[in-house]
Structure formats: C-alpha cells, structure tokens
Symmetry: C2
Subunit: 487 residues, 2 copies
C-alpha cells in the first residue's frame, strides 16, 4: 500500500494530488471505513513528499468529511465510506427508449457528428469560420484587463437575461448607423446567432400550421432549427442577385406563412449579395402579404465591395415586422458566443423570458470583453484588415475555380465561401469521397437544400485555407470532377 503514488502534474499543488490519491483508495475500497491512516510523518516518507503536504491533505479530507481525527490517536477513514453505495442495486436504464422525437431528430440532423474527420495534412474547404491568424490577441487581452479593472466583481456575478447593458447600448447605436429606425425596437443578447434563431423559432406561433419561407438553398443550421422547432419549409430558388421574385410571389399567393427567413449578404451557401433593388422589391412583397421577416446578418460585416445595401430591417423604416439576428462570429471571435436579436420591443420582452428560462443569460465575460474591444475602437481597423485579407483570398479562390473547375457554375460575391454547381446528375458526395482519399475535403451542397435537391452542388469555404492549399485543393477537385464527368 502507498507505493504507487506519483506526482502526475507539476503545475498542481502536490497536497491536492495526495488528497486525490487517498480518495481513490477509499473509492476502490483499498482504504476502508474506520481504518487508521499512517501518521503524517510516516506517509510523507512513504509517498516521498513533505510532512506539511500530508498535513494539508489530511486537513482537506477532514473538511470534506472523508477523514476524522481522534485526539492523540491520529486520522481515520470516515465510517460513511464509499462502500455503503454497494447497498443500492445498480440498475440499467435503456436511454434510447426514454428519449423523445426531438432528441432523436437533433441527432439525425447533426451533420457535425457524421462529418469527415480531417487530419492536419488534409486541405479542408469545409469551414467558414474566421482565420484565427487574424485575431489580435493583444487587443483582446487588453479589453479583458481594462474591463476587469473597471468592474471585475460585477462581471463575475450574475447579470441580466437581456444582456450586458453597455454592450446593448453600443450595439443599438451600431445598428442605428446601419440605417435602422430604433423607435419601438429593443435588443436581446444571445449566445451567438444560432441561439437567437432558436429562441425566435421557439416563440413563434403556428397560425399557418408552422410554415417558413426561405431562400433555396439556405443556411443548414437554420434549416435544422426550423425542423427541430416543428416548422415546414418552403424554399424559393436563388438567382445571381438574390431570390427569384416571381417564384416568391407565386408561393405567397398559394398559402400563408408564419415567417420568412432571408440572408441578404453573402448568402450561405451561395455567397450571393441580394441587390439593393431586390431588397426593396422583396420587402414590398413581405409588406403586402404581412409576413414577418427574420433577417440573418451573419456576414453583414464582411461586405467589402460595391455600393452600400441596407439591411432589410433598415428598409422597413418604422415597421416592426423584421427580426434582425446579428453576430460577429464570422468576423471577430466565434469562441466568444455572442449574438443579438434586434426587433420589436414587445417581441423582445417575450424572447427575454425564454432566454432566462433556458440559461439565465449569456456569459458576462464574453459580452464585456466584446464590448470593451468594440468600445476601444478596434473593430474598424480589424474589419479593414480582415476585409482586405478575405478579399484577396476570395479573388484567388475564384481564379482557381475558373481555372481548375471551369465546367461548374460559380457563385459568390465575397465573404468566406464560394458555391459551385455542376451539371444535373453530377454527384458531389461521390466527388467528395474521391477527393477525400486525395487529402481534400469540402461541403457537399445538398445539406443546404430545402427540397432534397442540390446533389450536384458544393460549398468552398476558403477563410482558413492557405493560398497554396487553395490552389492545390481546387486543382485536385477539378481534375477529379473532370474524370467523374467523363466516366
């Protein structure tokens, strides 16, 4: 006994490691209830640590009730030892039979769980996360230290469900500068865009049987979210400058919808920016049919070219029919889970109560670091750098697509990804299989389609791929696709 102790971690206090070592012996039953423990000096010698370390370990165990001391006699293992647990029969629950349809569907729709695992050498076009090389760690560190110095205690205790007030005020101003009429509007901070959308969908009534109108293809996480919240989806095809208005009109005339969901800037997955004219036309239709609009602003900040196009919520003026969901996850730091829902005041009040019921509030640390970073004026400079970096990569990826995959139709006006459409009947899953064995992976496009289509499409996320790898990867994709097309 006591001959197998090792200091496992140089960074952690040794007395804690001794404590844990002794606890493990109690759990296993090697040390039994009411058994006398060696004296502190003795055990110190046996374990090769100082006597003070053993004293601290025994004191800790006593405080937690694992050990008791008899004056002048020494330390003993507490009587209520772990072995008492043996008297409870350990029964097995068949969880798969206790799980409901929602949980089952969440697993079925969970693409990440069945994604291809990439090793470090794989050229992966699957991500549209920002390039972490661009992160300004020093400025984040500074923002954290600044805020901690101002109100560290406050940041670490409970906050408000609606969000961290300075951040809300800053983001309200920020949205106002995008042209939004803030009269009658309010904001809820969420743990990223996804939570914002999930909370909105969980709150919406289903007067029309639970129906949502969106672009086809569309953001797969949104599609998953609609399904998990019990909504049926009607997808309207995309054109080079946004949704097909004729088809949209047709769909609107055929039935009623509970809401519509649009991604006007660098649409996921097609990369299309809806033109200013189409935004106005789209919103006129929504006003005519009184369909509330959920606007996904996820890529809004990355816009680097062309004239300014207003967010849909800005075109609505004093109307309260648009719910804008924003996030800096594709620009700044996705690890900080912060998004925002800007909408009608009354609606936000409902959403706030749902947020509170679900997880009380979003991390105050995340919110305050983001606030301070923005407040210090770093976003502007960062965006300049990020936009020019991503623009360069976008141009290069586009060139490579045109060179190596000229037989696929290309779309995408910028942002972090491009979209390829092959001739009908082409199978990008088969292409992926073959490319993957050559060390190149991408996202087959069918997961973005609302109607089971898009088997001949794929998304190319370039943000985290080096220029050299972009060239190599697209060459392999092009050559492999060419063979497949001929075969």
């Amino acid at each position: 006994m006591f001959n197998d102790f090792k200091v496992l971690d140089e960074d952690r206090p040794v007395y804690i490691q001794v404590k844990e070592y002794l606890k493990r012996m109690m759990i296993k039953g090697t040390l039994q209830g009411n058994q006398k423990l060696p004296s502190t000096r003795e055990l110190g010698l046996l374990l090769g640590v100082s006597r003070n370390t053993i004293i601290a370990a025994y004191a800790g165990l006593e405080e937690e009730g694992f050990v008791y001391t008899l004056q002048g006699k020494g330390s003993y293992v507490a009587a209520v030892s772990f072995s008492s647990a043996a008297s409870v029969p350990s029964w097995q629950t068949d969880w798969s039979s206790r799980i409901n349809g929602y949980a089952r569907q969440a697993v079925e729709l969970d693409r990440m769980k069945r994604g291809i695992r990439a090793d470090k050498k794989t050229i992966s076009f699957t991500s549209i996360a920002p390039d972490e090389q661009l992160f300004e760690l020093d400025l984040v560190r500074r923002a954290f230290l600044d805020r901690m110095a101002i109100e560290g205690n406050v940041l670490l205790n409970y906050g408000y469900a609606k969000g961290y007030r300075p951040l809300i005020e800053l983001l309200m101003r920020y949205m106002e500068h995008k042209g939004v009429d803030m009269q009658g509007k309010d904001m809820l901070i969420t743990s990223g865009f996804t939570e914002g959308l999930d909370i909105v969908m969980s709150a919406l009534g289903r007067k029309n049987g639970g129906t949502v109108l969106c672009e086809n293809p569309s953001h797969h996480t949104a599609i998953k979210n609609f399904k998990l919240n019990g909504f049926e989806i009607t997808g309207i095809p995309m054109e080079h400058d946004g949704i097909n208005l004729e088809e949209l009109k047709q769909a609107l005339s055929e039935r009623s919808y509970d809401c519509a969901y649009f991604i006007p800037s660098y649409h996921n997955p097609t990369g299309i920016v809806t033109s200013p004219e189409k935004r106005i036309a789209l919103m006129k239709l929504m006003a005519e049919y009184q369909v509330p609009v959920i606007e996904d602003g996820f890529n809004e900040e990355l816009r680097y070219s062309g004239s300014h196009a207003l967010p849909l919520i800005a075109t609505a003026g004093q109307g309260n029919g648009v719910i804008y969901i924003g996030s800096f996850s594709k620009v700044l730091f996705p690890g900080l889970r912060v998004g925002w829902v800007l909408a009608d005041k009354e609606l936000i009040s409902y959403l706030e109560s749902i947020k509170r019921a679900r997880n009380i509030h979003t991390s105050t640390l995340d919110q305050s670091v983001l606030f301070q970073y923005l407040h210090n004026g770093h976003l502007e400079k960062y965006l300049k750098k990020a936009r020019s970096e991503y623009k360069r990569k976008y141009e290069w990826t586009k060139q490579c697509c045109e060179k190596y995959v000229p037989f696929a139709r290309l779309s995408g006006d910028g942002g972090l990804h491009l979209f390829l459409e092959f001739e009908a009947g082409f199978d990008t899953h088969r292409l992926l299989e073959s490319c993957s064995s050559q060390g190149v992976i991408f996202t087959p496009g069918d997961m973005f389609f609302t109607d089971g289509g898009g088997l001949n499409t794929m998304r190319i996320g370039f943000s985290r791929v080096s220029e050299e790898d972009i060239g190599t990867g697209l060459r392999i994709i092009g050559e492999t696709a060419f063979k497949q097309l001929r075969g």
Copy 2:
C-alpha cells in the same frame, strides 16, 4: 450644417465619431444621395478636428459604400442612400397574436420580471448568488492570461459542442473523486445548471404522459423548466433530513413517472441536506421503480459540516439511471456560465446534438478560464475561505432568526439560505409588502411549491447581506410578522 458635432466619448477614436456623425446625417436625410461633401480641410475646420481625422472618416465611409470619390472633384454621398427605404411601406405586426403558448408561459412564469426592484439602501434577502467580495480577481486574471498565452487563437475560434476538452477531463476526474463510477459515463458542458436541466428535459420522452417527481418545495427555476417542457409535477413533502419516504413510496405505487428530480445538498429553498441513510433509501426506491433521477448538485461544493454524504450518482455505482447536473455558480463565478451534465454515454450523445442545435457550444473563454483556475489549484483554497465565511454568516442568520422570529419554524443546514415556515394561514406576501416599505425584502416561499401551497413560508438568502444588515433586516421582519400575527 456641420455646426452640431461634438466628441461624445474621449475613449473612442475621433474619426469613428465623425463617421457616425455623417452617417446620422445621411440617415436623417440632411445629407442626400449624390450631394457633394465639403473638402477634408474645410470639414476639419468646421468640426474642429484635424484634416487627417476627416480623411480617415471619408475613407471608412467609402469602404462601407456610403461615399464615393470622383478623381479631382471630391467626395459625394452614395446614390443608394437611406431615403430609398421610404419606398417600402412600413407595416405593423401584432406580435402578441403571433406568439405561441410557450413564449406566453415563459413570461407568466418569469418571476424576475415581476420582482420587487431594490434600491441600494434596501436590505435584500432575495439573492442566493455568491458574495462577490470573496472573488479572487487576481487569480481569475492570471488564469485568463495563462490560458491566452498557451492557446489564445484556439480559445477565440469555434470549439466543440460537448465542451472544452481539458475542462471535461478535469471535471470527470473531479466527479470521480466524489465517488462516481465513471464507467460508461460521459459529460456535456452547458451554459450553467439551468441550460443543463432545460436540455435534459427537452430530450426526455413522455411515456407516462410527461410526469416528474420532486421534493416539495423545490427549486423554482426547475419547476418553471418542467412546466415549460410540458411536464406535470408531483411534489413530495420534505422532512428535516430529506424527502418523506412514506409519501414517496405511496406516490410511486400510484402511478409511473418519467423522471425524478432531487436536490440532496442544501436543498433549495429549505436548506436541508438529505442524510446519507435517506440517500440510500431514496435510491433503493428509484431502483425498484426504475425511475431515472436528475440530481441537482448546485450546492454540493458548499458543504462544510458533518460527515461526507455521497452524491446520488455515486450511490448508483455502475447503474446509469442518474443524471448529475453540476455548476460552480453558487461557489465561484456565476457570470462565467458553465455547468456540466454527467450521465450515461448514450444519453450524453443525444444531449450533445441538442446543445449544438441550440447554441453550438458554451463560451470557450468561460470554459478555459474556469479550467485554468481549477487547474492552478485555486478551488480548494477558495472553498476553504468561502465555506468558513458562509458558515459564519449562516450561524449568525440562524441566531437572528431564533431571536427575532422565534414563532416561525426554521430549516436549513448551511449553504447560502435559510427557510422559515409560519403558522398556517399566515401570508408572507402581505409580510413582504409591509417589510418592503421598511426597506427589507425576501423571497415569499409559495413560488417554490408544486401544489400552490407554502403561502406561509419564505426564503432568507444571506450570502450577499452584511452581518449588520442581517441583524437589522431580521429584526424588522420579526417585528412586522409579530404584529401581523397578532392583528
């Protein structure tokens, strides 16, 4: 024009403030599409800022598409100005009619929204959040800087739905040291205890019509959560050492339950620690009737007295029927929204997909700061300090209750709160009204009851009240209650 510019915030770069000033003029229509802007020198003079500031502001506006430049002629407001929005009719949506029952119920059950607002002079016994005076800001700062130095880039980009791996490993070891058999178990990190419970309840099937068994009274957020997830609640009365086993047996024999929810340590709101013997007896019953158990470990870490009592999940040995939900929010930092669900591996896999669908993952910054803080061995020392501090306050609050409110039955073995029960027919809401006007507030107990009872009870949270205020506050409560009892 240009005569009302002011630098509003000394901390923010002035060129950004100029940019925002000009944008506001475009939004309001003071600056119209294709209107020529003053030269940079001219505007600098008009606004009283340097020419370089104006150059930077114009460049920023141009990059965002709000301004265009004609070579040799100057800068102009972009043609697609905000006024185009005027062409979209702004329609009003009646959100209250578009909201579903879930959202409505979330508001109805939202106690925080209707809570009494306390000003700074009010003595408030409503909180059971930790005392922020105890927070060790330097150590949190250190943990943050340590982790940022090691892998800052990683922390700021997307992480995994299951959680930050080093934290999971540490918490698995931590739970193992509480006596849990980890074979076949796994862990999901959530944004606090509440999210853990919400995700679990959203996943559980309703074979038995959606029924949950729990202590009565019980944690009001849990009760809210059960209701919002469509479960019916059966509450079993508490005794001084835990749930009433006879009544529990009776309830189990009468119908089947989909799950049970227990708070064995410093039960909310009664403060009772379920005795080791009762834990075993309770778990034997659960095993006999095969009812899955959700164990709320929220106050587990604060236990400072008596012999060690195993968490229920530890008494279950190799059984997989217990879902343990833990959190450090009542000990360490609630602002860091981190909790964990320890349960059967297969179940965790379902919960992981739900977590991903809802908000991708919990803040990596929160998780990594918590990890590093724990890894550096600070928890042990902190707990020692916190336990002794809270114990002192607990003893004092108990004394004050006995002295000033001797006519109420007192319960609570420690933790951050005590519970008072007055004679039947007494109304603590009426008491609150009267005390509140004297600057003292507390939590009436009925919100914790599953059956509409408890109108004669109240919870006294003492963690954030000074010893002097505890005395004054309880004296006022006692005197006011006495008058009310006589009246």
